[in-house]
Amino acid sequence: MIEARGLTKRYGSTTAVDDLSFRVESGRVTGFLGPNGAGKSTTMRMCLDLDRADSGGVRIDGKRLVDFPRPMRSVGALLDAGYLHPTRKAKEHLWALAASNGLPRKRVDHVLGLVGLSEVANKRVGSFSLGMKQRLGLAGAMLGDPQTLLFDEPANGLDPEGIQWMRRFLKGLADEGRTVFVSSHLLSEMALIADDLVVIGKGSLIFEGPVHDFVDNTARKWVTVRSPQIQEIGDTLHNAGHQVTASGPGAIDVVGPSAAEIGELAARLGATLHELSPKTASLEDVFLEVTAGAQEYRGDAGAPAPPPPPPAAGPAAGGPA
């Protein structure tokens, strides 16, 4: 388990991480989400004591990283695939890491096989593709067979097959009871692999809890109705106080009533329905909504906007911090 309490990091007058507290449970994949510049990587580095926190701290299974006699046996991390010396061979990179924790060299062969790099173990890493470096980084993280793993954007540079492999790999680690903390900007990936989420914006916690809570409690839900008598249905729903917006020719999106209620109303009105589909915003939509006010860097007004769900009352922060 990873527990961060009151983590704060300042760079001059800029507060990159502001009094951030969260828990990452064992046996689950916890996604770490936030817009660019939200402080994800800084937080990851503070978890590993690479960046010194101005206040607060992180405990992994109740200990600071320096308190583990052989840290790699307890904690593994892949922060950036590029953290390699280009003229060093892949196996030498891993040998050095293994030696620092008294791990046998056969572990190096094992993890190289695990990530599919056995054949290039004697090649200098400068010739590696980003995907191969990513796999080598993973091998380094797995060297000590640790209980806790931290990954910063692990799917970067992987091809579709590699991404699928990574997905199974991370899920498999969590299924073995390990603590898996993964930062990613690929929300579709997070939707597929994460059990829990920690969402931050401008260095502060926005949400912490299970993925389904994030979507269920925060996502907008609406019903799309398509009918030749759409005007009549829309007017009736509007008069009943529901939020109705046109979503295309002969179609409306309705926020409030359930699909069943709208179906019954249509039956009472004698209207024919061509479509009656309940909709929920995707994780991506929810993320964009929730972090809308917490984006450090954003495109100009001319940039294409995400497809908007129908207007509704402000998002209810389910399971908020």
Binding site: R45, L48, D49, L50, D51, R52, L65, V66, P71, M72, V75, A77, L79, D80, G82, Y83, L84, H85, P86, T87, R88, K89, E92, H93, W95, A96, L97, A99, S100, N101, G102, G140
Partner: protein, 240 residues
């Protein structure tokens, strides 16, 4: 600590540039030694040859050891490998000590071989050639100076965290800044670390400009240890 030293040794020997530099230090010194010995042999008024006569390349070797010191830490920052290093071994001072042991022992090993081969060159090419008690002192001092200058380079590397900047500072300090300062301000001579280190390896010092060989060595090492300490404090304090 043994594990950390093993890890640092693997890192040291697995990077081509550091191995080439260590070998170059030895090879160049030996090559210059052969040239100097041949030249002195042909000189009718050469007199008795001593170890110093066949080691004109010593300073080149010393600079390369300093460069090795800068590289052993500077490259970690340049390629960000310091992050996996400190994730695997978060005890920063111990990691630095392990690096110091590796680079100092590598410098010492190359210097010992270099001295032995240069002595052999002297014996083979110079007649008369002798290794007297002063030469023996010079041999010890040379090994210590090689280790100390590697430590000095490492301290600079830890402070500036840029191999190129560290090497440039090292060279400018030793070759430009110290000689100019010592010439401009006569009293500054005894306070120049590199010149004091060189003094340690001289057969006879320059009592007007510098300290004695022993005092010069002590001053050089005191300065180097303080600088290394500053580097260690900064490495511990700063983000990796």
């Amino acid at each position: 600590m043994r594990n950390l030293v093993r890890a640092e040794w693997i890192k040291f020997r697995s990077v081509r540039s550091t191995v080439i530099m260590a070998l170059a230090a030895g090879v160049l010194t030996i090559l210059f030694g052969v040239i100097a010995a041949i030249q002195q042999r042909d000189d009718a008024f050469g007199g008795t040859g001593h170890l110093g006569d066949v080691m004109p390349g010593l300073q080149v070797a010393i600079f390369l050891f300093g460069t090795l010191g800068v590289q052993i830490i500077g490259q970690e920052y340049r390629f960000n490998t310091i992050r996996p290093t400190l994730t695997a071994a978060p005890w920063r001072t111990r990691v630095l000590v392990a690096k110091l042991i590796v680079v100092a022992l590598a410098a010492a090993a190359v210097t010992v071989v270099m001295l032995a081969v240069c002595a052999l060159i002297g014996m083979l090419l110079l007649d008369p050639f002798e290794i007297d008690s002063v030469d023996q002192r010079v041999m010890w001092a040379t090994v210590l100076f090689a280790m100390g200058w590697a430590m000095y380079g490492m301290a600079l590397g830890a402070i500036v965290r840029q191999p190129v900047a560290g090497i440039v500072i090292l060279l400018i300090q030793a070759l430009v800044a110290e000689p100019i300062l010592a010439n401009l301000v006569h009293a500054a001579g005894p306070w120049m670390p590199f010149q004091n280190g060189v003094q340690m390896t001289a057969r006879s010092g320059d009592p007007e400009l510098l300290r004695s060989t022993l005092a010069g060595g002590i001053y050089f090492f005191a300065f180097t240890v303080v600088l290394w300490g500053i580097g260690a404090v900064l490495v511990n304090k700063r983000d990796a």
